[in-house]
Amino acid sequence: MNITALSKEELLVEFEAKINAEQKIEPLDWMPDEYRNHLIRQISQHAHSEIIGMQPEGNWITRAPSLRSKKILLAKIQDEAGHGLYLYSAAETLGVTREQYIQWLHEGKAKYSSVFNSPALNWADMGAIGWLVDGAAITNQVSLQKTSYGPYARAMVRICKEESFHQRQGYEIMWKMMEGTKDQQEMAQDALNRWWWPSLMMFGPHDSDSPRTGNAMRWKIKRETNDYLREKFINKTIPQAELIGLKIPDNNLVLLEDGTYKSGDINWDDFWKNVNGNGPCNEQRLAHHIKAHTEGAWVRESAFVSGFQK
């Protein structure tokens, strides 16, 4: 067998040609370190977000006000756990174990979506999270179905199918609350007030302030820019809010002549405060995960040891 060693430059040319031809990069394919590291960061951050995102909703399962809503919420959180599982599996194909990813999370070296550092304070938050947070996530994830890394793209296809249910279920909660008593309407508006801006921040900094966008776009990891996706989400969501009588908490929101909306300025100080660990629930969310993982150590060890028994 003839093995021809290609130089790094030649490999890069081949890699980029594949990407330009819209072919997927697979785990055993050669890829630049920068591409691999970008994916390690992005997919694990995505996986951690799904898992940490179980907490604000998990907080309400035992208080869900009807059996139907309890079932839907449980199933939704279970979906999130499943998404975490697909994504950790996709991330592991890059040569890093799940255990390592979790350790990086616990050490603060890996991030998760800052939106989950907001507290879930009333039942309408279950609606707002589904409608807005999952709605923002799906806007981003639809474009990621075409991402260049095969395992990530395939995970996204499955995830998107489920996320669209979540968004509709979340909106249904908001709609029911707005059809309900004055207390319920106030809860719904309060939830929107608190989740609107964090949802817009989910798309990340403005394109002009997003240092990693360049290569990620060139290598088709990201397919659309932060600002494009954010605007898409805003334009989709505002009519939904208005339809059920909710007011978008943005006094500077402008309806443009072409029928699209321009939102007021996002408070990026809040965003960075949150990203840097000082949001309302950062410590709580991480401590919860560390506690569960630590308390589960003896269970994992026993399961492992028992594997050698008959």
Binding site: L67, A292, E295, S302
Partner: protein
């Protein structure tokens, strides 16, 4: 309330309260796959409970909904066994509580498939499929804990010793059970007990775990007298409908 509907409630309340405890554990599992399995079981149990509450509401025909029965019922009207109220002390307690209940459900629903009551017969056929999965999982965990590390074996045995006295209530035949047995609707709990014990012995023997030798019993749930835990469970579960009685969710 007629005996048959009380019988329905005994089954439904066990499922609902255990499901509540499992829901509390969501996002706290020892690893992701187990977290998923835990919520799967919680969902199955809510599904079972919900069908039964809806049927109770339909048959009693007093204008209540299934949700009213869950959310607007007082503590002493809940008829679950005390075991399912026990808190999630650690993974061993959660899994031993689950294993005891799964074996009971397996035996109970197997027999209930012969019920003369069409609704119960249907529920039994549907539930047994789910319960067999639940039991497979909890039996495997008995093995993993009992035949794994010394620490895990000890924790599992502590949980078994603690919960054993609550298991007798599964088989305690109250007036409702007797009436249903006579009518060919309910199952013979003495038979269930025999089969339950045999299954528990089989799995424990395989798993280096021991059945306690004492015969102490703690019971009362099936008569509406519960542990202190149920008050807290219901306070949390019924919080929104209690606070906003006019709201429709």
């Amino acid at each position: 309330m007629e005996a048959k509907l009380k019988y329905y409630l005994q089954i439904a309340d066990n499922a609902l309260i255990l499901s509540h405890r499992l829901s509390e554990y969501c996002s706290k599992g020892p690893f992701l796959e187990e977290d998923l399995a835990n919520t799967n079981v919680a969902l199955d149990l809510i599904g079972l409970a919900e069908s039964m509450y809806i049927e109770v509401a339909r048959q009693e025909n007093e204008g209540r909904t299934g949700d009213d029965i869950v959310y607007r019922r007082k503590e002493t009207d809940f008829l679950n066994v005390i075991l399912v109220e026990m808190p999630n002390d650690d993974f061993a307690h959660i899994m031993v509580r689950q294993f005891f209940t799964d074996v009971f459900h397996q035996q109970f629903f197997s027999e209930l498939r012969n019920s003369k009551d069409e609704f119960l017969m249907g529920i039994a056929h549907k539930s047994i499929k789910e319960v067999l999965y639940h039991l497979k999982r909890s039996s495997e965990w008995m093995f993993r804990l009992g035949k794994g590390t010394v620490e895990a074996q000890e924790k599992a045995q502590v949980a078994i010793n603690k919960y054993w006295k609550y298991t007798h209530e599964f088989f305690l035949e109250n007036d409702t059970d007797s009436e249903m047995l006579k009518a060919g609707i309910g199952v013979d709990l003495s038979l269930i007990k025999k089969n339950w014990l045999a299954k528990v012995e089989e799995i424990f023997t395989m798993s280096n775990l021991t059945i306690p030798t004492n015969d102490f019993t703690i019971e009362g749930g099936k008569q509406g007298y519960h542990s202190e835990n149920l008050g807290y469970i219901l306070t949390e579960m019924q919080f929104l409908p209690s606070k906003y009685p006019d709201a429709i969710w």
